[in-house]
């Protein structure tokens, strides 16, 4: 059976989660590989969550927040915008390709964009293949 | 029927060690192996780290002599970043290093290697530890040992943040200058150190040299290997721990090589055996001839005796007197007597203490400027010091940002690992006859490698307890024929 990546998506309540809802109400289809988790603000997304997702078997992590300037909490998305680049750099050192983590801005009106984004990410992660988990003792 | 004796652990080198002794049918030693079942891979995981972190990472190779690694690494960074530290910084580093050498050597003599002599090579295990030593030297001296160790280590803590894994080394200097108050303390402790070193030598005289049995032991062929010697010397070919050129003398004591450490790859190589995780160093041009001594074998030795063998003098007066006296007593230079390492160590401790006093009294030591910010682009650097256990070399290659791409570490004990192996073979062959093994014999074997004070000697003599030795004599079938343990 072909590789079906698991992608954990952290969506901010006010923009991106609403955007994903809009994709639904507009019946815009995308593959079910993406598994959303709602947070109030993308600024709530701890790097720990991303590591946890990979440790638990995710092959990719998508973080969506309001567009710069539109944050419901004014600057939460900027905080994430500062953390993710450093996190990616660190993940790379741990053998997790940067492409497996994406930070995107999705507004409440961008249902279609959310769907496209998800499709695109699934495709890219499929190319990368599964993110291998480190084994236990080697005997 | 081959029998097999296992001594495990003898003591720890890089990690701990294990001796396998094979007996032939007559019960005489066929062969003996010193195995080091320990590997952590520092040379690999240094890669990708920022170079300036190396002094604080590589020192985790050894918590007994972290200062040696810290300093070799820091000097390597000076070279890597092409920066010459301010005089004050250099002097503070050397001062710090002298304190360390004094402390480490003293610790070894009284706590670790010493007990073999102090309480006697054949003494029972219960005595062969610091408490046994205390018994011999009296509690008051014992307190003194503990006391001076504490004082020196407190000073080092104040100078470098920590004494177990100091943090102050940086390319181009150190992280902070000295304070008047501290220098005052250092002067006092230095004076005390000199006194104490002289006392130790006197004590060694009375206890060992005046005791024919010991002296014979030292001079006996069992503990003799004719090898090359390597160590750092200054421009006057005098003993130096912190800086200088590497000098190698042949078994006759003639200068065989003298080179700046940057060229070490031209002259020394590491040999790999499938049965040990430790690598064996040898002189490239002489070549690896197996575990044999003599002029045609590339095996060389480092550490106290080696250092004295390669140097023409010691710059500090008292230490130099002792230096002369030692060679007179042992019948000339170079000395190949493994057990003479103990004596040499005490002389070095005296030198370290005297040097400590000299530097502490240098006014420049208080200069506030102890850093020079590097500006050049890093590429490659090599740094060396004489660790208590011998020559220690750090060698890094980095990218333009100073991220390590390749690291090569020549760790003190490795230099001696071939010699130690050889010594054990020799001792075992000489001491175990017709399968007869007793605790005394085991101690006598143990003495060989403890003379080299291989890293991690620590634990073994520290507390009531012992080096747990066990000898199992097996039939070829592997069934246990006879078992002996010393605990």
């Amino acid at each position: 059976m072909s590789f079906e990546p698991k992608i954990v998506a952290f969506l901010c309540n006010w923009c991106s989660y609403a955007g994903a809802d809009l994709a639904g109400t507009s019946r815009i289809k995308y593959p079910p590989n993406v598994r959303p988790i709602r947070v109030m603000c993308s600024g709530r997304v701890e790097p720990t969550f991303v590591l946890k997702a990979f440790a638990s078997g995710a092959d990719g992590v998508l973080i969506c927040g309001c567009h710069p300037g539109d944050c419901h909490y004014m600057e939460g998305n900027y905080k994430t915008a500062r953390r993710i680049p450093l996190l990616k750099k660190m993940l790379k050192q741990l053998g997790i390709e940067e492409e497996r983590v994406r930070l995107e801005w999705v507004s409440a009106a961008e249902g279609a964009r959310f769907a496209t984004l998800v499709k695109d990410m699934i495709a890219k992660v499929k190319e990368l293949g599964p993110s291998r988990r480190e084994g236990g003792f080697d005997e | 029927m081959t029998r097999r004796i296992t001594i495990d652990p003898i003591t720890r080198l890089e990690g701990h060690g294990k001796i396998e002794i094979f007996l032939n049918d007559e019960g005489n030693v066929e062969n003996a192996y010193l195995q080091v079942p320990e590997l952590r891979g520092f040379e690999k995981f240094a890669v990708g780290r920022p170079a300036e972190e190396m002094p604080r990472i590589t020192q985790r190779i050894c918590g007994v002599c972290p200062t040696a690694h810290h300093m070799a690494s820091t000097k390597c960074l000076d070279d890597l970043f092409k920066v010459d530290p301010p005089q004050a910084a250099k002097k503070i580093r050397e001062l710090f290093y002298s304190i360390f050498m004094f402390e480490d050597h003293t610790l070894h003599f009284y706590f670790l290697g010493g007990p073999d002599f102090v309480v006697g090579p054949k003494a029972s295990k219960e005595e062969r530890n610091i408490f046994g030593v205390l018994g011999k030297v009296g509690l008051e001296v014992g307190q003194k040992v503990i006391g001076i160790r504490k004082k020196t280590r407190d000073i080092m803590t104040e100078m470098a943040g920590k004494v177990i894994h100091p943090v102050f080394g940086l390319p181009g200097g150190i992280s902070k200058p000295l304070t008047k108050e501290l220098v005052k303390t250092i002067k006092e402790v230095a004076r005390e150190g000199v006194e104490f070193s002289l006392f130790s030598l006197k004590f060694f005289d009375d206890l060992v040299l005046k005791n024919k049995e010991y002296l014979d032991l030292i001079k006996s062929d069992i503990y003799t290997n004719r090898t090359y010697f390597m160590g750092l010397v200054d421009e006057k070919n005098s003993l130096n721990f912190y800086d200088g050129k590497l000098r190698v003398v042949d078994p006759e004591g003639k200068e065989y090589l003298k080179f700046p450490v940057k060229e070490y790859l031209k002259y020394i190589d590491e040999h790999v055996e499938p049965w040990s995780y430790i690598k064996f160093l040898f002189l490239k041009d002489v070549g690896w001839k197996g575990f044999v001594d003599g002029k045609d074998s590339g095996i060389y030795r480092v550490a106290p005796l080696a250092r004295l063998n390669v140097s023409d003098a010691i710059e500090t007066p008292r230490a130099h007197e002792e230096y002369d006296r030692m060679y007179k007593t042992l019948g000339g230079k170079p000395s190949h007597l493994t057990l003479a390492f103990h004596w040499a160590r005490l002389i070095e401790a005296l030198y370290a203490a005297e040097n400590m006093e000299r530097l502490a009294n240098d006014p420049e030591i208080l200069h506030p400027n102890v850093r020079k910010i590097p500006t050049a682009t890093p590429e490659e650097g090599v740094g060396v010091v004489e660790a208590p256990r011998g020559t220690l070399i750090h060698h890094y290659k980095t990218d333009k940002r100073g991220i390590i791409e390749e690291a090569n570490l020549i760790v003190a004990t490795q230099n001696n690992s071939a010699a130690i192996n050889m010594g054990i073979q020799k001792a075992a062959k000489a001491l175990i006859k017709e399968g007869k093994v007793d605790e005394g014999i085991l101690n006598l074997i143990e003495i060989t490698f403890r003379a080299y004070d291989p890293c991690h000697g620590c634990g073994t003599h520290l507390l009531p307890g012992h080096v747990p030795l066990e000898i199992n004599v097996y039939k070829k079938s592997g069934d246990l024929l006879h078992s002996f343990r010393n605990h």
């Binding site: 994903a20 289809k29 079910p32 598994r35 709530r44 946890k52 939460g76 | -």
Partner: protein, 649 residues
Amino acid sequence: METIKVGVYICHCGVNIKATVDVDKLTQFSSDLPPVSVAKSYIYLCSDPGQELIKKDIEEFGLNRIVVASCSPRMHEPTFRKVLRSAGINPYCLEMANIREQCSWVHDDPVTATQKAEALVSAAVAKARLLEPLEEKEIDVIPAALVIGGGIAGIQTSLDIADTGFKVYLVEKQPSIGGHMMQLDKTFPTLDCSACILTPKMSDVGNHPNIELHTYSEVVDVKGYVGNFQVTIKKKPRYIIEEKCNACGLCVPYCPVEMPDPFNMNFSKIKCLYIPFPQAVPSKYVIDPTHCRYTLKRECKQCELVCKDLKAINLKQKEQLIQVEVGTIIVATGFDTFDPILKPELGYGLYPNVITGLEFERLSSASGPNLGDLLIHGKKPKEVVFIQCVGSRDKSLGNEYCSRVCCMYTAKQAHLVREKIPDATITIFYMDVRAFGKGFEEFYDRVKQEGVIYRRGNVAEVFKRKNRLIVRAEDTLLGQPIELEADLVVLAVGMVPSKDSPGVAQLLKLSQSADKFFLEAHPKLRPVDTASDGIFLAGCCQGPKDIPDTVAQASAAAARALTLIAKGKVAIEAAISVIDEEFCSGCKTCISLCPYDAISFNAEKGISFINEALCKGCGTCAASCPSSVIVARHFTTEEIMAQIEGVVL
């Protein structure tokens, strides 16, 4: 330690979910999850019987955590929280799994969609079992409101609140209230005189016992939180002592300085000691310090000397700061008209007879420069061209929105031209005519009846040929280029956010939408609320509106504000962040990150501290706490970690 009993309820949502997700399989799956005591599915959980089902189970099985797998929590979380509350368990013990918007509606394959639904439910259950009951705290509300902006929106809001008997502080940056509406001539589609309908409301404001009016003033600082704001108002010096000035006007003739009259869009001149317009409220003079000789170079004190009896003039007046405390704030800072200089091809600023719609209003107004006669260089224009959508629906300018009033005011202005110059040729270039409001379409018809020519087309440029204005355009219906001569070109400029709005956003921590108008809390369900509790929006600061919509929204904002004030208490967000004092080392990392300045350093305890009333629960601080000792309630690290494990199932 209570034992966690989770109930899972799966909604079919008719066929919306059931058609794609195998609800029976999902129910079975859910009931097999460890902490789940009961799992059921129902056709419409949000219906009364659906809610009853949950309530009954809560009592029967003693459930204390509820998972509802249905539509988006953004849809029905409030509904089901009420269910929990009414069943006597804490509403925050609810977790929803969105298996409609983010599952059944976006996936086709029932098998994989059901698998995903299972993952979503297991995640919800994993979180639910960790959910903590949260207590909704209440704080007192200061029974007073601050209204920023004295246009029609601010006026209406103030009156509504004041009439209910509560204190209102109305702050207007101009010397008089009235705003843009005061400048308009007639209003569409009814053609009432704008001033005539506005001035009564203005004087009501002026005389209202509950309204404290601060004109020529600005809000410079706002501290505090819903129910409890401390506001600082800066009163600019008007060099007239308001209490004393009786608007006799004796001083005016003595003022030697003339300046363009801003109220008349600079078509006429006034003294720099002036009353903005006859019906100004307050009816007090003001001296323009940018023109007055005294304020500029300490020369001339004529006016002060003249007003010797009242001593109402004080040229040395300084600005003053006034502190007020209010429970709620209504933002009614209005709009600016688009500046057509940004579309040079239209020749505005280059040719005096290219004017904006607002300028037209003044020209045609009976109180305007020519007392109502529509004159350009003293002559009545014969060829009049209107151009619509100037600065609106224009991607090149980044103004994609429709300003909603231009179509109608253009129609009205065309009508006024027809009225004043019966033989004029009137052409209107338009993209589409949007006549959506009450009586709009009828009015539009009427104007067409009056012989106004509507040409669908984009104007390429306006230029001069032999002293005549030429309007070159493409008639998109005929699909051919045309050129028209014109004596007067009126640009139907749209609305843009007031240039003060960034400052206001900063001050009140308001979000702005892409068009830079203030962002409402929810486009449909909370159109006058903002993300900042206790702060509401009225009028065009939220987006272009005509007068009736503005007034309606103003009253709505007043009503929202009044619900706060009238109740006297307000529940503050329960799902906020708190710092665990036992483990906080006071590293201060969080302090600089809080957008609401809700975190402060307690020096004597050596720890950081979150003001619960200021915290909005975004959780940014929790995400950055190096010791993980900030608990983002309802979205705790443990809860989300559990969710992650569940969701990758």
